[in-house]
């Protein structure tokens, strides 16, 4: 055996340097591949062990949580339950990880329950120390998003001021999560961060914030004007979304100005908002914008708005559009608006007249109620 090794050694020593390099690489790669297989298998074992621990903790903790949540236990029983849970999760090695499992379990129940059970879970979350862990994580800075998410999911209103500091944070993901949590915990009063927000908000974030805002009761949002006047277009668009979804009529003057906004997205949203709020007074402005703009999308929006806001004057305009416009989309939109204005008769008369093949098919399409 030793002879074999000696011979191999001398063989390797005698090799040219380029052979040595390639051989070294081959052996390294083989070792690397083997190591990776071992790592993959170990990773599986680790996952299995975590899953087992999760199952064990869930099995033991769930009955206690259910008891707390669904029975009318008094303060003493509540403390006993917390002691029991603490005993279950207590471990010299896995305390942190066990607390994380417990955290997820409580969050899960919280998402799926309401009423008194909801309040009891919040109390449990505080008493057991999970709220403090989340706050510590928030302050340490390593787990910002997770901490903010947990605190807002558990509706820890008292942590609102801690969270508000992050609504203008440099990291976009943290900032978005903090903005969302602020609206969730503080309602419309916590939306002040939008007043001077200079970073853009993505459409995704706007949808998230709107989703939370839709839970507000219909009441006046007096900050709306500031948002609509903002230099930040994303804040303006969000303001318009809030305006139309929460029926905020009081800033109609600002809305009228936004119809002329230089940003196409803002302009489009403004027209749409005017339509949804049935703001018929702005029709004159819409005519003006129609003449000024060259963008088909904006023209389409205006024709669509006329279908909801218009009267006899608009019928004439729409008829004229059908007759003179060459752009398919505009003719289509005008015909659709005429139908919405209840003027099928106009469309039928077109059908009887000699229209271009395209015009005729559009009118037929619009008159077909099955589409």
């Amino acid at each position: 055996m030793s002879r074999f090794f000696t011979e191999t050694y001398y063989f390797l020593v005698a090799l040219e340097p380029r052979y040595k390099i390639v051989l070294f690489l081959v052996i390294s790669l083989l070792i690397l591949a083997a190591a990776m297989i071992v790592i993959v298998l170990r990773e599986r074992s680790r996952k299995n062990s975590v899953e087992n621990r999760e199952r064990r903790i869930s099995r033991n903790v769930e009955p206690i949580i259910q008891e707390i949540v669904f029975s009318e236990s008094d303060g003493g029983e509540f403390k006993d339950a917390i002691k029991k849970i603490n005993r279950i999760v207590d471990s010299a090695l896995y305390r942190k990880s066990n607390m994380a499992i417990l955290n997820e379990l409580i969050l899960y129940y919280h998402r799926n329950l309401g009423g008194e059970a909801f309040n009891r879970l919040e109390m449990l979350y505080r008493e057991i120390g999970l709220k403090q862990i989340a706050l510590d994580n928030l302050r340490i800075g390593e787990w910002h998003i997770k901490a903010i998410n947990d605190l807002s999911t558990m509706r820890m209103g008292e942590s609102l001021f801690d969270i508000l500091q992050y609504t203008d944070y440099e990291n976009q993901n943290v900032r978005y999560e903090a903005q969302y949590a602020a609206v969730k915990l503080g309602g419309k009063k916590a939306m002040g961060f939008l007043d001077d927000l200079d970073t853009p908000m993505s459409e995704w974030q706007q949808i998230r914030l709107l989703d939370q805002s839709l839970k507000f009761e219909y009441e006046l949002i007096d900050r709306m004007g500031k948002w609509l006047r903002s230099d930040n277009n994303s804040v303006v668009v969000f303001g318009l979304m809030i305006m139309r979804n929460l029926n905020q009529y009081h800033e109609k003057g600002e809305l009228r100005k936004l119809l002329y906004h230089k940003d196409e997205k803002v302009q489009e949203k403004a027209i749409d908002t005017a339509r949804e709020l049935a703001y018929a007074e702005c029709l004159e402005n819409l005519y003006e914008v129609y003449e000024l703009t060259k963008k088909i999308r904006i023209k389409k929006q205006i024709l669509c708005a006329m279908g909801d806001l218009g009267g006899s004057k608009e019928v004439g305009f729409l008829r004229e559009t059908i007759a003179r416009e060459k752009e398919y989309d505009l003719v289509f939109e005008a015909a659709q608006s005429l139908k919405r204005l209840g003027r099928r008769d106009v469309l039928v008369s077109y059908k009887e007249q000699e229209l271009s093949e395209k015009g005729e098919s559009i009118v037929k399409h619009i008159l077909d109620d099955r589409i």
């Binding site: 390639v22 081959v26 790669l29 599986r44 998003i145 994303s234 008159l367 077909d368 589409i371």
Partner: protein, 509 residues
Amino acid sequence: MIEFDNQNSFIDVLIYVFFFVTYGYTVFVMVSYLVLGILSVVQARKYLRRNSYTDYLNILQSPEAPTVSILAPAYNEEASIIENVRSLLSIRYPNFEVIVVNDGSRDRSLIKLIEEYHLERVDFAVNYTLATKNVKAVYKSKNPAYNNLVVVDKENGGKSDALNAAINVSTGEYTLNIDVDCILEEDCLLKLMKPFLEETEKNMIATGGVVRIANNCKIDKGRITEINVPNKLLSQFQTLEYLRSFLLGRVAWGSLDGLLLISGALGVFQKELVIACGGYDDDTIGEDMELTVRMRRYAREKDIDYVVGFVPDPLCWTEVPESWAVLRRQRNRWTRGALETLLAHKRLFLNPYYGKIGMISYPYWLLFEWLAPLIEAFGILLLVLFSLLGVINISFLYLFIALIYGYTVSFTIATLYIEEITFFHYKKRRQLLRLVLAGLLEPLIFHPFLVYCSVTGNWDYFFEGKKAWGSMKRVGFKKPSNGSKGRKITISKPSPSSKNQVRSSPAGA
């Protein structure tokens, strides 16, 4: 490596250059794969971390969600079309329509759709913004439950033509273009739309997602209910290939904004831009890659500050060929498709005006996707020749081949490791070991086969002028009981009368 004579003859220099180029090229390919691999891991982890708290319910309930049209071209799909359409209709998204285009099928696809979904012909005004073959009729359902289903019956014109017809009748701001035989994850549209809604600085023009292999997976009511590694070795090879290609390759290119291909099986596009740049090209068989490249080119030429996204989540499942003959035809076609696109857009090559795609992506595709198999085949031929002539050092060559083999295997295992720490789909230990075993055999069996397909693809393109698709006959879903293997796909020879047709798997995986 080369044993020179005392005097360096011309032949010696030539051989020396050959080896220098071959070894240099190989090392360069290996290093580039490594870099892409590292980038992918970073990107996939970042994606998972960022999305671990994403609540898609926000958008699912939102009245402000943008409208999306799902475009599904179908040709002779009677066996599976009902299930597939049902699966599309059950996608989770608040504001979408499904447009199925019956591209002149010669089977009962349309009749089955009419019967199942209570369709009736409507007076739909088709705007031929994109030129297509004649649309014979448009159908809508009498049942309000299928209100968002539109079926277009048109003359046969091929997949690109069918997609263009679907775009013409669509009303959404975005289009999700799919292969009708693919199985989509329920939340695929939510995940694919997220990058569009998240982008604040640039104009997101398209996003793609990861396509995985459905062979041997359990499928019930158009949904994957159990993920398994395929039984057949050939499909296992393709599983590894798809993993490497999507998990490592495209995720990395996505992070670099250098993607030249959004798979035809799954991609969301900004409709306005698709129309502006002329829609799908009827004259190419690699229509998905061609459109992606053309859109990027158009955006750059119109000074649109754009970006193309990629979602690392597996969102679409497709069945891959289980026979060597079918696979050969498929790969041959993919080679010709990529080649067509590369030649059609040769202006991009090392053109700094086009930024990353001109300076990095296009040259990479050219050198490592198209040329690599050709260089490999040429190299092997020369090596055989040189060894017969006795002018090369065989032992060094063996060692170098061992290095390439070791690298390929390590790379495959690294891919499995990344899959393990990210999406973790193959949960059974036995399945993992089967893939490792396939990874050991793949460089010896599957890779040479792919080289062969690529060489014949090039030959067919340049010397035979072949451009037609192979048509497919589907058998349809099997019942999921008894460990069902889902559907089976057989691809028959292209019919002379048909320009079709629909591919079963994404191009250029």
